[in-house]
Symmetry: C2
Amino acid sequence: MRNDGKKRNSGCPVTYGLDTFGDRWSLLVIRELLLRGKKTYGDFLAADEGISTNILADRLKHLEAEGIIVKSRDPDNRRSFTYSLTQKGRDLAPIILEIIIWSGMHDKRPHARRNVLKKINKDREGFEASLRSPQD
Amino acid sequence: MRNDGKKRNSGCPVTYGLDTFGDRWSLLVIRELLLRGKKTYGDFLAADEGISTNILADRLKHLEAEGIIVKSRDPDNRRSFTYSLTQKGRDLAPIILEIIIWSGMHDKRPHARRNVLKKINKDREGFEASLRSPQD
DNA sequence: GATATAACTTGTATTTTGCAAGTGATTATT
DNA sequence: AATAATCACTTGCAAAATACAAGTTATATC
């Protein structure tokens, strides 16, 4: 997997974070769930960044094992599954928002996107609270 | 390297963050610089997590190329080099602090360390400001 | 019953990582 | 002055992780 099983066990909170959600693909799945209303395996596969299918399966398993997401059957379509964030997962919102703020400050590329940043600037408290509370 | 050169170019701020500092070893180097007063190649190698030497060299090069750190000669010891954070690097402080806060909430391991968390709880504004301002 | 869809799994080539050992430029020791 | 340490890497190779293509299973639709 990535670094599963044997956490470095240093007790460091930064390391704990890195071990549970801190790899590129895990964070992108969390972004899709938190910011883009995406829910299914197919949704995640279709994200711009192009995650490969075996890695996605691996990361979903990992995030579920860590209690960041839960998997459930879609009641309307029994061949589809729905992933959603737990409270532990939604509590990652401030981290994602800080990353967006940081990029807003330092990403000088002309095509840098700022739609979420605008929401944060307009009403961070409210926006963050909405992300952290159950069912959007 | 990790994902150098061709950024996915999606324009997404989360992706930009992941591409510039978002891998395990980069973040640990930043932690050492920001929170632990470590400065040299040898310091980073000695960190608990055990980064290997070729990966460390690679990450330092990458972080320098991204403008997160700068390398300079140690004036006191001419065979040693000193790494330090740029403003862009110090601006990562809020992200690191949010990771620490998140881990403080959700890391249930008995040996989870909370010394930095205590500082944050005591005076987040002041602590964060001290991390973000030049020369500690 | 045949075809399609959603969510994976499997196989394999490529890339990245980890580990051990080696190099070059100082600096300290005998 | 020669010898040994130290510091910051680099190199070579085995092991692990990743990307890509193709295949499988369980529904669902025609």
